[in-house]
Subunit: 218 residues, 2 copies
DNA sequence: ATTGATTTAAAACAAATGTTTAATACACTT
DNA sequence: AAGTGTATTAAACATTTGTTTTAAATCAAT
């Protein structure tokens, strides 16, 4: 199938444009011009603009998931080290890089300004990560908090990481370039890890039904 | 001047619509219909759509700033209590409420998806809050961290609060309605406060003049 | 090479939308 | 009451943009 050439050119051109401008602001003409194909090609190959968007998002997920899987830990990894890896994984995904791959940006856009494709993306991509993170929290604590507190602590952790993406605009305007350059993945990972670890160590389980000890202990 | 009537009707109608749909998706026709004025009135009174948007944002800021000033503390307030109040202030502003006032939503939209009016909004509205928060952090610690760490700890705190707004879509899809209902301002304030306080207490300052990382591997 | 399907190309179409115009109504002054 | 400046209205205009059409070109198989 040599259709590959044109169809793929559209897909590859649409990715960065959708990622940068979003579904509404990106125009079919713009995409076709970037792909150097005729205006009608989008409708020919994808039916309409929406379907092209879905196809682009699907491609993004494929490219991305094989690149940044949820961390899997080797036997013997300490809970603290697991937590560190989870945080690093989050920060690495979220931190806006110089040449940020468009799949990341597109998926982020979809998550924070969902159209209608977001459901699947979240349940199959973020939810598992979140659950995995909570398990690590259990590990660090040595016991499992009640659901409510457990969830909100998870939110506190990802909140610390997310803010560096969601508030990009704010950061850009609140800090000098020099300050911003210190926001490296390594440094942020370390700081968030330290902050979180200290918080977990110091937490007194607010609601104490008999906190059941879980996993390997015992 | 009975023009007041029409001009104000436009402004008041534009507020909620811009807040909900953003500048691009909100249409002049829609606004005029809601205001029950003629289509041409927007251009007659404001020149063009952009100017109307700016006027709306200006109104939003006026309405809002007199309602939620930065907390000022009475003499004798403990550092911990100050921190609690700052966090509460943030959470209250950020938590999506059932009947959320449109000025909040509009300003949030502008902050996270800035058009070009955002600069002023951030420097005059958020930056002072952030500085104030950092001062409270100094108080709680009893000393002042180096700029870098101090800033990033501030980010960790506001990140915990911001996430409940920026990730609304994610939250809606990751948690059941019952779980979400436990995300009350009071409870979140308490949790974030506890988490943050524990983190601050447990932090080992890397504030020595030389930036020596103290990551003690275990 | 012929034929039939597929792909590309240019133009046209239709709907949405910001803006302008030109006529009319209104209120207030003289 | 006439006049004048302001406010309102309906219609038109111009542009953008997603989509469709129709014809030409290309390719693969017989």
């Amino acid at each position: 199938m040599q259709s590959d050439s044109t169809r793929d050119r559209i897909l590859n051109a649409a990715g960065p444009i959708f990622a940068q401008k979003g579904f509404k602001k990106a125009t079919v003409r713009e995409i076709c011009q970037a792909a150097e194909v005729n205006l009608a090609s989008v409708n020919y190959y994808f039916g309409d603009k929406s379907s092209l968007y879905r196809a682009t998002l699907e491609l993004a997920r494929q490219l991305r998931s094989q690149e940044h899987p949820i961390p899997s830990f080797e036997y013997g990894t300490s809970p603290e080290e697991k937590l560190n890896q989870m945080i690093r994984s989050l920060v690495m995904r979220l931190l806006p890089q110089k040449s940020e791959p468009w799949p990341v940006r597109l998926m982020m856009r979809e998550v924070f300004n969902p159209t209608e494709v977001a459901d699947d993306l979240i349940t199959s991509y973020f939810r598992p990560f979140f659950d995995s993170l909570l398990t690590v929290v259990d590990d660090v604590l040595g016991y499992r908090l009640n659901e409510n507190e457990r969830t909100q602590i998870g939110m506190s952790i990802i909140g610390q990481c997310l803010v560096y993406r969601t508030s990009q605009a704010m950061i850009q305007r609140m800090f000098t370039e020099a300050e911003r350059e210190s926001f490296t993945a390594d440094q942020l990972t370390q700081r968030i890890h330290e902050f979180t670890l200290a918080a977990l160590k110091g937490i007194t389980p607010a609601t104490l039904p008999e906190t059941v000890s879980i996993n390997q202990k015992n």
